[in-house]
């Protein structure tokens, strides 16, 4: 279980994250919803140790190591002159994996045939899928996917949805997905976490279809604005 306890992050006088408390279980997919600048990416970066936050992030009661996480933050960052396979090999070497199962990882995301292609030759959808394959390589417990469908065409979005729901969801993994795409979030997640202004404002079990979720999202976000007004 991943526990986030009293996490705060301030840059100057601006609070980017305020008193974040979450308990996230393996075997579930969590959807993080919020407008631009709500703190979704900052929360992910904090989990990875990329920010100077205060508070605690624990994995099964112990301080979490960034090696527990697989991540795809904002953009799938790879070396453009290395092939698909070489990029994953490099990642595995950094993780110290003795026998990384790169073929299985690539097969899982339908990229086995493209393994000899340079990263620079891949389409955006293929890059996103490679990012997900990398995030799952090794012994990760928690997977952070920040806007994984960003910039993808409808077919690409569908591929990512099927990948998450049918291939990658497992009892060993806790998956966190942030997205603006309510259709996607409604289709793949088990729990919904609403965030605004760096604060968690609501956590609900997902039993919504797209329209219901849209109404709920609007209600939660505008009620916050009304309170502030």
């Amino acid at each position: 279980m991943l526990q986030i306890k009293n996490v705060n992050l301030n840059i100057g006088n601006t609070a980017l994250l305020s008193n974040i408390n979450l308990s996230l279980e393996q075997g579930k997919i969590y959807g993080i919803l919020g407008p631009n600048g709500a703190g979704k990416t900052t929360l992910f970066k904090s989990m990875l140790g990329l920010t100077a936050f205060s508070g605690e992030i624990l994995s099964d009661g112990q301080p979490v190591s960034s090696r527990c996480f697989g991540s795809l933050i904002e953009y799938p960052a790879f070396y453009p002159r290395l092939t698909v396979e070489e990029n994953l090999k490099l990642h595995a070497r950094y993780l110290g994996l003795k026998r990384p199962n790169i073929e299985v990882a690539l097969e899982q995301v339908n990229l086995l045939d493209a393994r000899k292609k340079l990263f620079s030759q891949l389409s955006l959808g293929m890059r996103q899928r490679l990012g997900i394959a990398r995030a799952f390589l090794g012994d990760v417990q928690y997977l952070l996917l920040d806007e994984p469908t960003n910039g993808l065409d409808p077919m690409g979005i569908k591929e990512i949805r099927l990948l998450l729901k049918e291939r990658l969801k497992s009892p060993q993994h806790c998956i966190l997905v942030s997205s603006h795409n309510l259709t996607e979030i409604a289709a793949v997640t088990d729990i919904l976490i609403f965030i605004r202004g760096g604060k968690i404002i609501k956590i609900v079990k997902n039993g919504y279809n797209e329209k219901e979720l849209e109404a709920l999202y609007e209600d939660i976000m505008t009620s916050g604005q009304r309170e502030e007004a």
């Binding site: 992050l9 840059i11 980017l16 990416t41 900052t42 970066k45 990875l48 140790g49 990329l50 920010t51 100077a52 190591s65 960034s66 090696r67 996480f69 991540s71 933050i73 904002e74 953009y75 960052a77 790879f78 070396y79 453009p80 002159r81 290395l82 070489e86 490099l90 990642h91 070497r93 950094y94 993780l95 110290g96 340079l118």
Partner: protein
């Protein structure tokens, strides 16, 4: 392992070929001049010409090299990945600096081998006056010392500039300015405090002893102390600049 990974990342990177050609510029221009000019040249003159260009251009090559090693990670945002691998920033910084030093010294070795080939060609066509194996080996020792000083100092300085600016153009321009600036102090009697200038004079000492400083003991001790101090200070500053990027990486 980190050093091996740094080399792995350079696979198919064309800027390495470009930098190698840039390193060989002193030989390409000097060689062309020597081959197409019918007059004979002495080994020391040939070395003097090559070394002048080397001391001016090579710092720029090293600046671009170390700059590119960091910049490619900033440009494609892969630096976010390796920060999350849980290695200390000290080790990550050290691995990039080490790779730059190894490649820089490698380039200098290739340049001197090319110089040796040029000397052999000119010697074979009777267009080289004087010189011999012992002089050539002396030049090799002097050049080796100069190359080591230039590579170590400029690598550390380049690492500071790229991590402050995160801009390869700025880093390259500073490299050009540094190359010219250090050449300005070559003729000065107190120029030994500048490691690049000191290294040049040491190198030329192995070619012609009369070109060394008027106070050789003071200059040698002062130059060595200055080099060691500059290297330690710049290395530490580079490390601090690199490590102090943790507020929010975006």
């Amino acid at each position: 392992m980190l050093i091996k990974n740094e080399f792995y990342k350079l696979k198919r990177e064309w800027f390495m070929v470009f930098l190698l050609l840039l390193s060989l510029l002193p030989i390409l221009t000097g060689g062309a001049g020597a081959v197409f000019n019918n007059s004979a040249k002495s080994l020391t003159d040939l070395f003097f010409f090559m070394n002048n260009q080397f001391s001016m251009f090579f710092p720029m090559v090293i600046f671009i090299l170390i700059g590119s090693l960091f910049y490619q990670e900033y440009k494609n945002k892969t630096y976010i990945n390796w920060i999350t691998y849980d290695f200390s920033k000290k080790k990550l910084f050290l691995s990039k600096v080490a790779v730059s030093i190894v490649i820089g010294i490698g380039f200098a070795v290739i340049l001197f081998i090319a110089f040796g080939l040029l000397v052999a060609v000119l010697n074979g066509t009777d267009r080289l006056i004087g010189g011999g194996i012992s002089l050539f080996l002396n030049l090799a020792i002097g050049f080796g010392i100069e190359a080591c000083v230039v590579v170590l100092i400029t690598t550390c300085l380049g690492a500071i500039v790229i991590n402050l600016s995160r801009n390869i153009i700025v880093t390259s321009v500073v490299g050009v300015i540094y190359g010219f600036a250090s050449c300005l102090f070559i003729g000065s009697e107190s120029g030994f405090v500048i490691p690049g200038s000191f290294a040049y004079r040491v190198s030329m000492f192995f070619s012609d002893k009369s070109t060394y400083y008027d106070s050789p003991v003071l200059a040698t001790i002062g130059g060595c102390i200055s080099f060691v101090l500059c290297f330690i200070v710049m290395f530490l500053v580079g490390l601090i600049v690199f490590s102090h990027k943790k507020k929010i990486e975006n």
